[in-house]
């Protein structure tokens, strides 16, 4: 949940300028508040807010009280701003200290290109290995990566797309990885919900697997598994708490923290991040391909899906892996891809405020594409609301560019770059899931959506 501290807000409404759903309410010059029903929790207001708690202002509540209100670790030294998201780091610290809990962690693709910034490294520094090492020092029992379930999402969503195209399902199909986008569709265009892919997001797929397959691999009682998720996103906590997200028979994801909160935990434990040597993620749920890691950038889900769909349909290797035509910045992009006999038309929307005109076309039946990727944040998850917050406006832009570049660099350097070539993906289908869109997948990896109409 996103809040605005009434004591700190000066009413400049810079947040309202970046809010994609007009959820910031208040008069100019007066403290603002968030319309929680409209809010999609993207956290862009948190990123842009510059109204901080001043040590010279004696009229405001003491820092200790504000840290407690925000559920932040008491050891956090950084300045506090008016717009914030409710933290969960205390719960993670508690779980790590509990000997009865077997704590598994998943880290989203965009976290590894941003976390190092919080330790003084350059904007967009790529640090997957140091992050794995830091998580191990923090005491997590299993260090997994959401990039693995991003690969899994591609397997499921790619096959879903092929099935919808060949067997006549609802088209165009929309991606469903971004929880803010899903909430927006549920509340603003509920009539278009059948267009959403039934695939859960990579976070929720990982959650469902941790307490089933993951528990089985480690021979632990699923009830003892505590599932932690580290996300660049301030809306993933909302997604984890959706009532339907209990496919494993337990709460699939117990707690979600942001990139910034993981940095707080690392500092709180006195770990010197910059001096850590790189370590590997645990297998099987931590091995990932380049396709999985580009989920963090706009166009990434589309690119990953095309790399796999092309080969599944044509049974031939894709001639070019770097699909530059789906990459880019904020806005709407279209592309046509020749996949065997099929002329596949795709659309990529980066920044939720650009999606409404496209959805109007879909409603009117004039949309000329099969598949649409939507990411709420300006250039995808790398610019998420839970990412390190740049102090200066120009650095906010620099950070986006640098994190995107590192994402593609990581993709280029990984051993496997196509989701279907991930050995542990092949293994999980063989040992546990069966086949994409199969019965087990249907139960654990797919979901349904709820129309939410705003009361007048």
């Amino acid at each position: 949940m996103i809040y605005i501290d009434q004591e700190l807000c000066t009413g400049c409404r810079s947040c309202a300028d970046v809010c994609p759903v007009d959820a910031i309410v208040g008069e100019f010059g007066q403290p603002q508040s968030v319309d929680q029903e409209l809010c999609v929790m993207c956290g862009q207001c948190v990123q842009v807010c510059s109204s901080y708690a001043s040590i010279l202002d004696e009229g405001i509540a003491p820092r200790e009280q504000k840290l407690a209100e925000r559920a932040m670790l008491p050891s956090v030294k950084e300045p506090l701003f008016a717009a914030y998201n409710q933290g969960k780091a205390l719960k993670v610290k508690e779980a790590l200290a509990d000997p009865d809990k077997y704590v598994m962690v998943q880290v989203a693709p965009a976290v590894r290109v941003a976390i190092a910034e919080e330790f003084g490294m350059p904007l967009g520094s790529l640090a997957p290995g140091q992050m794995a090492a830091a998580l191990r020092r923090l005491g997590f029992d299993r260090i997994y990566s959401t990039d693995f379930t991003a690969d899994l999402t591609i397997m499921e969503e790619g096959h879903e797309l092929i099935e919808r195209v060949t067997k006549g399902g609802t088209l165009p199909m929309f991606t469903s990885c971004c929880p803010a986008w899903v909430k927006y569709l549920e509340q603003t265009y509920p009539e278009l919900l059948p267009h959403l892919s039934s695939c859960k997001s990579p976070q929720q797929m990982a959650g469902a697997l941790f307490k089933t397959y993951g528990a089985k691999v480690d021979k632990v009682d699923p009830a003892k598994v505590y599932s932690v998720s580290v996300m660049p996103c301030t809306c993933k906590d909302f997604e984890a708490n959706r009532p339907e997200m209990k496919a494993s028979g337990h709460q699939d994801v117990d707690v979600v923290i942001t990139t910034r909160e993981l940095a707080h935990l690392i500092k709180d434990a006195g770990i010197d991040f910059a001096s850590l040597t790189e370590e590997e993620y645990d297998r099987p749920l931590g091995l990932y391909t380049g396709a999985g890691t580009i989920f963090g950038a706009t166009g990434g889900v589309m690119e990953a899906a095309l790399r796999t769909a092309y080969e599944v349909i044509t049974k031939k290797p894709i001639p070019e892996l770097d699909l530059e035509y789906v990459r880019g910045g904020e806005g709407v992009r279209y592309a046509t891809v020749q996949v065997g006999d099929l002329e596949l038309k795709v659309c990529v929307v980066s920044g939720l405020k650009h999606v409404a005109p496209v959805l109007e076309q879909v409603k009117a039946g004039t949309a000329d594409f099969h598949f649409m990727e939507v990411m709420t944040c300006p250039v995808g998850c790398v610019s998420g609301g839970g990412q390190p917050k740049a102090l200066l406006p120009k650095d906010r832009i620099c950070a986006r560019t640098a994190r995107t570049a590192s994402t593609y660099k990581h993709d280029g350097e990984l051993r496997h770059r196509k989701s279907h070539e991930n050995p542990d993906i092949k293994k999980i289908y063989k040992e546990f899931l069966g086949k994409p869109l199969g019965e087990q997948s249907h139960h654990l990896l797919h979901t349904t959506y709820t129309p939410r109409r705003r009361d007048a």
Binding site: C12, R13, G29, I55, K77, L391
Partner: protein, 194 residues
């Protein structure tokens, strides 16, 4: 005769009160380079201050007075003029607050002293507490230094999203206004004669 000291001033009609200027000021003056909020281990300590009342919203900062009352009042000579900037030598400051009393703009502030992101302690000054003497934190006078040495000029001006701040060079301003005034008179003469 050398030029009058330049200064930064805000336009209250453009300012939205977002405090980006204050944040930018603190960032460029941090002796440890900082880019993200999480990198900061110190509070945000700016050298200009947003004023927000029912009547006016704008930041206020030093005018770099030619006869700087702060400097003339300082008992230890910690405030001097360098390259057209009224400058506080924080190492020399004794925290007496006389400059705060002297400045008619409220541009002077007494702030906690940080070096390398750490609070600086007093040499010997302790406070008597129940648990014995405790070494105290140091405070220093702090004011706008017009971002001396910062590439791109004052950070508040460079980062304001509404372009509400500008550097005023008094001599240039006077010449521009002189010309505008002359043109206005020329215009009025035309009306009467023509």
């Amino acid at each position: 005769m050398c030029a009058l000291n330049a200064f930064v001033v805000a336009d209250p009609n453009k300012c939205i009160g977002c405090k980006v200027c204050e944040v930018a000021c603190a960032v460029v003056h941090s002796d440890v380079p900082v880019k993200t909020v999480g990198q900061m281990t110190t509070p945000i300590i700016p050298r200009l201050y947003l004023v927000k009342t029912a009547e006016v919203t704008m930041p206020v900062q030093c005018r770099h007075c030619e006869d700087a009352p702060c400097a003339n009042a300082c008992p230890v000579g910690a405030i001097t003029q360098r390259d057209g900037i009224i400058y506080v030598d924080q190492e020399a400051c004794v925290g007496c607050k006389t400059c705060m009393l002297a400045c008619p703009f409220g541009a002077m502030e007494m702030v906690p002293y940080y070096r390398n992101g750490e609070r600086v302690k007093q040499l010997r000054l302790t406070e008597e507490t129940g648990e014995g003497p405790v070494l105290q934190d140091a405070f220093v006078a702090s004011k706008c230094d017009r971002c001396i040495g910062v590439e791109g000029g004052p950070a508040c001006v460079a980062n304001c999203p509404k372009e509400a701040l500008r550097v005023v060079r008094p001599d240039e301003l006077r010449r521009t206004r002189n010309l505008e005034a002359a043109l206005a008179v020329l215009e009025s003469v035309k009306n009467v004669i023509g």
